[in-house]
């Protein structure tokens, strides 16, 4: 009897890229819901528009590159890029913001930089950075989180805002634009207010920014689920949170009046989203165990520097991209000692 031959191993593979991406997408749900709870329907519009654009852009490019469209879309990486970008955008951004961001992320940062597996930078963060550099006005208009006393916009009002950039006449300005806790902390600290004084502002919650602390907690929850599922390596989030924590602790201990507390840094802005979902994008991250720790730590340190002394509202996107560039070199110098090689072997 004749049989087909093939190279070993023969057992069915244990993992699958599509399943991995799906796990990550599912783990985003608690954080996304929490973000919606505090910032309204605009978050949903961002997610839908960014994801749809990302998928459409991916399909278009795959067709142009003569690659299998259906199968590649099924791997879920374009969906994930769209979702991550959507989560990073201000909730009342006009519709073309997620469209431009997602198109740039997929067409340029992913495909023109090499395609899945070859893109050196995190596509969602490239899209985000292009937006924040090109459209600073739209990108820094964060609405007030729920719990600040403002009436939030209804579904229809939000839709009109997103699509037509029109609002009901009597909307107070704070509803559509208000400083985020990170902005607030930076500007107040620069005006010589002490950290204790700043924290009395209603924008601040018990440990992070108002609303933001729970959003971060929800992303942390999703991130822990990813670790439990072994969908991501622990070294990157550990490195990044560790780096950010140690940096903020160092300055906070040095002068607790002029520097924000470590808890505030860990539970504000995109810290947890960045640590578990963005920095862990394996394609653009370091890949050796030790290298991942350094890679994460580098991002954590950069986030602190940009947040404290930089001109941008948050530092996650820049931190990730800057460390993406260092990833190949980090990998080269952090190769593990191969089994049976001498300990001092360099």
């Amino acid at each position: 009897m004749e049989f087909p031959t093939q190279s070993s191993p023969y057992l069915p593979p244990r993992n699958d890229v599509g399943r991995l991406m799906l796990t990550v997408i599912l783990a985003l749900i608690p954080g996304a819901l929490c973000l919606m709870w505090f910032f309204g329907w605009g978050v949903l519009f961002n997610l839908v528009i960014a994801t749809a654009t990302a998928v459409a852009g991916e399909a278009l490019i795959l067709r142009l590159r003569h690659r299998p469209v259906r199968r590649t879309l099924m791997d879920g990486s374009a969906v994930l890029t769209g979702l991550l970008l959507g989560l990073a955008l201000p909730p009342l951004a006009p519709w073309w913001i997620p469209v431009v961001g997602a198109l740039f992320a997929i067409v340029v940062a992913k495909h023109l930089y090499g395609g899945l597996g070859y893109n050196p930078f995190n596509p969602a963060m490239v899209g985000f950075v292009v937006l924040i550099i090109s459209f600073p006005l739209q990108m820094t208009q964060w609405s007030a989180p729920a719990g600040m006393g403002q009436e939030s916009l209804s579904f229809v009002e939000t839709f009109r805002m997103t699509m037509l950039e029109t609002l009901p006449a009597d909307t107070p300005l704070d509803t559509i634009t208000m400083a985020t806790p990170l902005d607030r902390a930076k500007s107040d600290l620069s005006q010589d207010l002490t950290w204790t004084e700043i924290k009395t502002n209603p924008l601040f919650g018990s440990f992070g920014g108002l609303g933001w602390q729970w959003i971060n907690a929800a992303f942390l929850l999703g991130g822990l689920a990813l670790l439990q599922q072994r969908a991501i390596a622990w070294q990157i989030p550990a490195g990044m949170l560790g780096g950010l924590f140690l940096m903020s602790l160092f300055f906070y201990i040095g002068d607790s009046d002029t520097f924000a507390s470590p808890a505030f840094h860990l539970f504000s802005g995109a810290t947890m989203l960045g640590a578990f979902f963005i920095a862990t994008d394996p394609i653009s991250a370091a890949t050796t165990p030790r290298g991942r720790l350094y890679f994460g730590a580098g991002i954590g340190v950069l986030i602190y520097i940009i947040r404290t002394w930089g001109g941008y509202p948050d530092g996650v996107a820049f931190g990730v991209l800057l460390m993406n560039m260092a990833a190949p070199t980090i990998d080269y110098y952090t190769r593990p000692r191969v089994f049976g090689h001498a300990k001092s072997d360099e």
Binding site: M1, E2, F3, P4, T5, Q6, S7, S8, P9, Y10, L11, P12, P13, R14, N15, D16, V17, R19, L20, R71, T72, D75, S77, G115, L116, G117, Y118, A233, P282, I283, A285, T287, T288, P289, R292, D331, R335, P336, R337, V338, F339, G340, H341, A342
Partner: protein
Amino acid sequence: MAKTEPADLPLPDAPQRVTLLKTPAQFPGGADLDARKAQSLQEPIRIARVPKRLYVPLSQHIGEPTQALVSVGDKVLKGQQIARSLSYISAPVHAPTSGTVSDVGSYPVPHTAGLSAGCIVIDSDGEDRMADTGLRLASVLDADPAEIRQRVRDAGIVGLGGAGFPTSVKVNPGPGRNIDLLIINAAECEPYISCDEALICARPQDVIDGIHIIRHAVHARQVVIGIEDNMPNAIRCLQQALSDGDEHDISVITVPGRYPAGGEKQLIYALTGLEVPSQGLPIDIGIVCHNVGTTAAVARALMHGEPLISRIVTVSGAGIKRPGNLEVRIGTPIAELIEQCGGYTEGVARLVMGGPMMGFSLPSDQLPIIKTSNCILATTWEETPPPPPAVECIRCGKCAEVCPAILLPQQLYWHARARDFDKIQDYDLFDCIECGCCSYVCPSHLPLVQYYRFAKTEIWNLERERQQADIARQRHEFRQQRLEREKQELEARRAKAKKALRPKQGDADAKKAEITAALERVKAKKAARTQPPGNTDNLTPEQQAKIAEADRRRQSQRNEP
């Protein structure tokens, strides 16, 4: 009296002492696999029928193929040597039963490349008459170790765990080498395979006798049997046999059942916490490892006079009606073996020799069982589906997590794909044991091991070509040098003759100096030609043998029409 320094003689290594760990260590990497051994362990070992016609390959081991000692029409007896080894790393072949040699020629053999190779075809006379092999040693434990090694060699014994390295080489530590620990490998880590467990349960005494013989031959201070903790029956049988025989100096240590716990380097690490040096052998750290099946074969040969003409084979998989372990004569066609296991089931899809992780798929069942055939797997598509289409590597690093050699498989893959063979050696490709864990966990379904095998073969290939080119260039240069020298000598002679004629001319010396300078330059140039770096320089005998085998395979491939 002046003290003479024996500078040229290697000093014997200081006796190495190996300490066993109190609790086995977890080797790096590895994967938890479903054992699937129960189906082949339902019945005791069955004795397979001797087929009418046996195909006995001349090469069933790592090393040089053997040379046939018989020709068509010769009558042979069971156990009679029918092929001899011509080099140190080789193992002779014996007739598995009595009968007539009906052909000596090329037949398909089980092989990764699915090639044909030299075989001796024996038509059984059905009498199964045994030859006097002269392998038995009366009081084997008082015998000279050299005598034991010779008989192990004469018995054609090779590593039965699957690698097939000649055992006689492994029971010969060599001068100045000291073996402190003998490890008997009973950690059968690949799914489905249960021939070692079946053997231990059925013939523990052979195993123990073999241990004594090997221990005596290598002068090992301690002996330990390493076994996976998911083989409770085998553990019980061994312990029972050891306590019945008052064998207090052979210990049984269980290691966690995690693939590839039965890998030599992994088992040594689990038991001792020591790492076999890269490109080295266990003996470098005072250890030698033998598979239980090999150990029993040594006992059968030296205590019962039986050369290696049969082995226990696991026949398993959902493609087999009646899975089990069978004692099979070498040379039995697989199809006959399958028939004795009730034949194939409806959905049979693949035929594999060895396990599902490191085995190789066979194109047909018209191939013989050889000394290294520990398992025949007939699987359904459900068990071993066709590989899903591969997508790009996403550098998730899951491969690195499971790699027992602590390599970075994602980087190796990258460089193998780019055919960057310098870089891939920089990432220690040759430390890869091809266990298949990386491919198994790869979410992109990349056939990683296939890439590494390809890269290794290509590197050996290039290395060989480079060596040949070097030899050719050297020859050419020698010839050029010789011609030059002859020319210069001729000219020198002429000049001398001229000088003799016209003794006043003084530039002959200058010319001579020029010639010497030219010769010096050539010499310096030659000396400066650096040896290329690479870890293919100091290869172990196994690796050299593997290279030789790959070469041979390639050669035979070229010879194919």
